[in-house]
């Protein structure tokens, strides 16, 4: 679910542009509060997409590109598979519905 949320995708896109960012830097473009950003980071870290390291009072967040790349590949592959399958499923179910109606069911 890590990539479903638009805020999380925006955070990842920000991290792609630079080598590490603090949590307050990441929160800047959003209208949401820091704790909400922290929650999004928990999800991203849980999915293995970012790492957090603490130095003094600053937490630096970094992207981990390999799992990110694999996740995107995974998504693209299944997107292709299922879009096409569901289009055919739609056409097939609609033809079965018409057939059932013609038979008066």
């Amino acid at each position: 679910m890590a990539l479903v949320d638009p805020t999380r995708r925006a955070i990842l896109a920000q991290l792609e542009r630079r080598d590490g960012a603090s949590i307050s830097e990441l929160a800047k473009p959003f209208t949401i509060r820091l704790p909400a950003v922290m929650k999004h980071l928990d999800v991203l870290a849980g999915a293995g997409l970012v790492t957090r390291s603490k130095s003094g009072r600053t937490v630096t967040v970094r992207l981990r590109p390999q799992p990110m790349r694999e996740a995107m590949e995974w998504l693209r592959r299944y997107e292709r598979f299922w879009s096409s399958s569901l289009d055919r499923l739609t056409a097939y179910a609609e033809s079965k519905e018409l057939e059932a109606r013609r038979k008066g069911r």
């Binding site: 479903v4 590109p65 390999q66 998504l75 592959r77 997107e79």
Partner: protein, 146 residues
């Protein structure tokens, strides 16, 4: 954990869509990424029952996926586990959830495919921390536009 979510509005009643999704006869008509044929379709649509689908793509490669029905609520919801035979396409186990909601024109189908990461996959991800990621935004744009 990665997941794919797709929604379709179908002009057919939920029970018609449900049968198209869960019967071998239905699956044989629509399963697969292109217009290549389904070669084997088996389905035992009850909790704990299994399915198996083998299909040929237009590039002549054959692929087979199978799994177990984890939830079956006719005509509302289907949850099944998913694994590729051989695992070349994707070695891990994943899960497919299909929810059917009645709407005035017929059915709204919400489809979710969830990747489940096992420990092994997680570890190899830990070790794979290399290089920089290019064009992430372009990739996102492509995926979200699809």
């Amino acid at each position: 954990m990665t997941s794919l979510r797709l929604v379709r509005r179908i002009k057919a009643r939920p029970q018609v869509v449900f049968d198209a999704v869960t019967t071998a006869e239905g699956i044989a008509q629509w399963w697969g990424p292109d217009a290549g044929p389904v070669l084997v379709a088996e389905a035992d649509p009850r909790v704990g029952g299994r399915y198996r689908v083998r299909f040929r793509m237009l590039d002549t490669t054959e692929h087979e996926s199978s799994g177990e029905f984890l939830e079956i609520v006719r005509p509302e919801r289907i949850v099944m586990s998913w694994r590729w035979k051989g695992g070349v396409e994707d070695p891990g186990e994943s899960r497919v959830e299909i929810t059917l909601k009645p709407v005035p024109e017929g059915t709204e189908l919400t489809f979710v495919h969830l990747q489940l990461l096992d420990e092994e996959t997680r570890r190899s991800h830990e070790e794979g921390w290399t290089g920089s990621l290019n064009k992430l935004e372009a990739i996102f744009a492509a995926v979200t536009a699809a």
